[in-house]
Symmetry: C2
Subunit: 133 residues, 2 copies
DNA sequence: GCTTGATGATTACACCTGTAGTCATGGCGA
DNA sequence: TCGCCATGACTACAGGTGTAATCATCAAGC
């Protein structure tokens, strides 16, 4: 595999954890939000307090995953890494770990374990057609 | 998706960590091995000591992921959860977290990010044909 | 000016994880 | 028989993670 894995995903080196990921999703959906705004989106769903969100935001800024743009007394947070990059990285990690790096094996597994609905199959087929075209 | 996600993976409730997973792989490959034997397979690759492997084995037994069958003074360890179940669970977790539960989205992402080689595509196509047949 | 509320920074803390050392015990060779 | 080695159990400990309280500070209102 020769996975050097030293490439910066658009500036972020450190690993984004699960809780942090929830915060990222909110900001990917709509960038430039304050801590309070982010909290409005996730605190209820995850049972968090505003303090928790602030901690996560800080850690994400530290990790270089978020930019904190000063706006008066507070900050507007914006993702520095693209969702694409993150999703891609995580997917690759899974494929490497569990399927020996073969994405096709993943698909095969999903198919065989019936994780794919008829609609999924159709969608994938269409996608493949497009790709091979 | 209505993911109740309470389904037992053949008896294992707790989450298997990364280091533990490496041990599981060895035992999935060949069950009923002693700690020393497992170590022969992973210690070199991961730079572990035998002690580390023993700890991981213990934790896995605790978690219900391994059975420890007494064999004289030592134990022979054997997976209690099928690799299929583990891989399936992990895959589903990823799909749920990053692709809103849509496996097709995952495939689409892999395809678009060029994580799929021409061979992969061919393989998947063949697979689909088989499934739809 | 002084209080108050909003807000980021700092600190806290328990649990998990990776990694390993030490201990107790029992079989086996000398 | 006696000490040694193999082996699992127990203990350890640093760093990461989830979750949050507290602190310092500043803007705005009284």
């Amino acid at each position: 595999m020769s996975a050097s894995e030293e490439s910066p995903h658009s500036g972020a080196g450190e690993r984004i954890t699960d809780a942090e990921h929830a915060v990222m999703e909110v900001l990917w959906d709509r960038p430039r939000q304050t801590a309070a705004e982010v909290c409005e989106d996730v605190c209820a769903a995850r049972g968090w307090s505003l303090a928790t969100v602030k901690t996560l935001l800080s850690r994400l800024v530290q990790k270089g995953a978020l930019a904190a743009e000063p706006d008066g007394r507070r900050f507007l947070y914006t993702p520095l890494i693209a969702r694409e990059a993150y999703v891609g990285g995580e997917s690759r990690r899974l494929v490497d770990r569990l399927f020996g790096g073969s994405a096709a094996s993943l698909v095969a597994h999903l198919a065989e374990s019936e994780a794919l609905t008829e609609d999924d199959l159709a969608e994938i087929e269409a996608l493949l057609k497009e790709l091979r075209a």
